[in-house]
């Protein structure tokens, strides 16, 4: 919506009952209600969103990066309603939305794929054992780590398959599952693309996304600290080839796994804005959302953008309402205190503010903190500083994990892979005596001040006023 404003477009927001007071509505010129809190009846309801668009006279719909952003039926319905879908053609979405079909076409384009099946796995899981354990079961219609199960041995296979199917069906309405051999240790690196309607394709660098829990990213940075120009060149070439398998115009991300030897394997292509697009914006200086809108409107990508130069190093950390000391379980409640970092080179994209109830219905992402600096050590120092300024009350977040991470030798050296949380964090370090002592100061101090036991040592205002009162009283 900020991009719309800067382009002179009037933005309209939609909201469900759970979000009637949400922050995004204040950035819009107007807002349309699309239904009750459950996403299926609001943010996932194509009819409700199209009705809202017609009511408000919208010309184009930007689908964000969750919910319907990769739904080909939605894209088609938008096109049929005579509006512009800010995204790729519906047919491309349909093809890429099926991860299995995307695997097959990437393979056909000469791009290495993770060893595994290119056809759906049957209920009897026949033939999977020959892949070699451990294997990963994935939902063909999937994304975001849902419908995924790691299987260590043949014994757990049937149960895991049933459970992956159940989750896939409930999350995507499609129980088709395929299998890949687990690549470990692995890094997760993705390439950002931007295409126009005229065949122009810009490769906007890569993002390293190896800090993950439950296959969801927590930290992203660009450039990747782990690859050199040879691997980078190979990734870019593979990304171009995958992009060539579909007709697309929009922002897109091609995701790869890298093994210890630096070989890469295609995972999937997302033809939408990613949560972590800000990292690329910082190193390229581009507004990705603005460019999505411009290419959707038919603009050509200018030649200088095709070889977009990148400067410095950017890191993003995601603040989630999750408890990293308890397996990153989602936490709910009301955000009471909310203090975000500021200062040079720090950007905060936040979806909440102080005194906000977190709706149970949606993703627990609270905010993204991004830093940009001249190189990686400077970006790390800036991130450390930014996290020290961050203060959230009311709900447990992953802020403590992120602050810990920035001091980890493996992270500082860029020698980390997707197993970092499991192998190095576990459920977090024990409380130190120093931390326990400080918490005790806080708790006993708060109780004392509540009961008026300890005389308040006086806020500056109070002392000044009492001093004034005294001096006034002394006047003749």
């Amino acid at each position: 919506m900020r991009a719309c404003r800067e382009l002179g477009i009037s933005p309209i927001a939609v909201y469900s009952d759970a979000d009637a007071a949400a922050l995004h509505l204040r950035y819009a010129d107007s807002a349309e209600r699309i239904g009750p809190a459950p996403a299926a009846e609001s943010y996932l309801s194509i009819d409700a969103i199209l009705d809202a668009a017609r009511r408000s006279g919208a010309e184009a719909i930007h689908p964000g990066y969750g919910f319907l952003s990769e739904n080909h039926e939605f894209a088609r319905a938008v096109e049929r309603a005579g509006m512009t879908f800010v995204g790729p053609p519906a047919a491309s979405l349909e093809m890429l939305g099926n991860k299995l079909a995307a695997r097959r076409s990437a393979q056909a384009a000469g791009v290495p794929i993770v060893p595994g099946t290119t056809v759906p796995v049957g209920d009897d899981a026949a033939g999977l054992a020959t892949l070699g354990f451990p294997i990963m079961l994935k939902a063909a219609a999937g994304g975001g780590g849902r419908g995924m199960r790691r299987v260590e041995s043949e014994a757990g296979l049937v149960d895991a398959l049933a459970s992956a199917r159940r989750e896939a069906l409930s999350a995507f309405g499609d129980a088709t599952v395929y299998a890949e051999r687990v690549v470990a240790p692995a890094r997760h690196v993705e390439v950002q693309l931007l295409g126009d309607r005229h065949g122009g394709l810009a490769v906007l660098g890569e993002r390293e996304c190896s800090v993950q829990r439950r296959h969801q990213k927590l930290v992203e940075e660009s450039p990747s600290p782990a690859i050199g120009d040879t691997v980078r060149g190979a990734l870019f070439e593979s990304a171009r080839r995958v992009a060539g398998t579909v007709e697309f115009h929009n922002a897109a991300t091609v995701e790869f796994l890298l093994d210890a030897s630096g070989s890469h394997y295609f995972l999937e292509m997302n033809t939408r804005l990613q949560v972590e697009h800000g990292v690329t914006e910082l190193v390229t200086g581009l507004d990705m959302v603005a460019w999505q809108i411009r290419v959707a409107a038919g603009e050509h990508l200018p030649p200088e953008l095709l070889e977009a130069p990148r400067t410095g190093h950017a890191i993003e950390v995601r603040l989630y309402a999750e408890d990293p000391y308890d397996g990153f379980r989602p936490s709910t409640g009301r955000v009471t205190a909310w203090q975000m970092p500021q200062g040079p080179g720090v950007r905060v994209d936040a979806g909440v503010e102080a005194q906000t109830d977190l709706p149970v219905e949606y993703d627990p992402l609270l905010a993204k903190i991004l830093v940009h600096a001249v190189d990686r050590p400077a970006a790390l120092a800036r991130l450390r500083r930014a996290l020290d300024e961050t203060l959230i009350g009311g709900v447990q977040t992953d802020a403590g994990f992120l602050r810990w991470l920035v001091d980890q030798p493996s992270f500082i050296d860029g020698r980390y892979d997707t197993s970092l949380i499991d192998t190095e964090w576990g459920s977090g370090p024990d409380l130190t005596d120093d931390e326990a002592g400080l918490a005790a100061v806080a708790a006993s101090g708060a109780r004392a001040s509540q009961q008026g036991r300890s005389k308040p040592s006086g806020t500056p205002e109070q002392s000044a006023w009492s001093r004034l009162a005294r001096t006034e009283g002394l006047r003749p």
Partner: protein, 154 residues
């Protein structure tokens, strides 16, 4: 500070005497701890004896009791060391997707009892200890709120 005993994770913690709390914004719980050579930002929430201190991103529950409260608790504690039925409650609001046990069934500590889906994630509710299931209070397909009783364990 004035005879309070602070417990964190069940252990008594010594309160450093050279630190103090200053509220920044009482309503939201934002405060700073001021020590001899530095200060630290915290959020403090709670009332009475139960407090939660957010320090360096971590929520730390702390129990603060006066001398009188401690005397009282000690005499009650001696009487209340029995082991009656336990209620297994939902720790998250969400949708019950599976109930894995029936009344009368014996379970071991750690056995999966109920699966609750919240925030698109399936969470297993496990038996806090071994015992027999007395009652199952929920069905698959039902929505539960935090603290709702899922079942009763003997």
């Amino acid at each position: 500070m004035s005879g309070y005993e602070v417990r964190i994770g069940g252990e008594v913690v010594e309160v450093p005497s050279d630190w103090r709390l200053e509220w920044i914004e009482r309503e939201s719980g934002r405060a700073r701890l001021v020590g001899p050579d530095r200060s630290v930002l915290v959020v403090v929430e709670g009332h009475g004896s139960e407090w939660i201190v957010t320090l360096a991103g971590r929520r730390i529950p702390a129990t603060v009791r006066s001398w009188r409260e401690r005397q009282l608790a000690d005499s009650e504690g001696a009487a209340a060391a029995d082991s009656g039925p336990v209620l297994v409650k939902a720790t998250l609001p969400g949708l019950v997707v599976a109930v894995r046990v029936a009344p009368g069934e014996e379970v071991a500590a750690g056995d999966s009892l109920v699966t609750v889906e919240a925030m698109k994630m399936q969470n297993e509710v496990r038996a806090p200890r071994a015992g027999r299931i007395l009652e199952v209070a929920v069905k698959a397909g039902q929505t539960v709120t935090t603290g709702a009783t899922l079942l009763r364990l003997e």
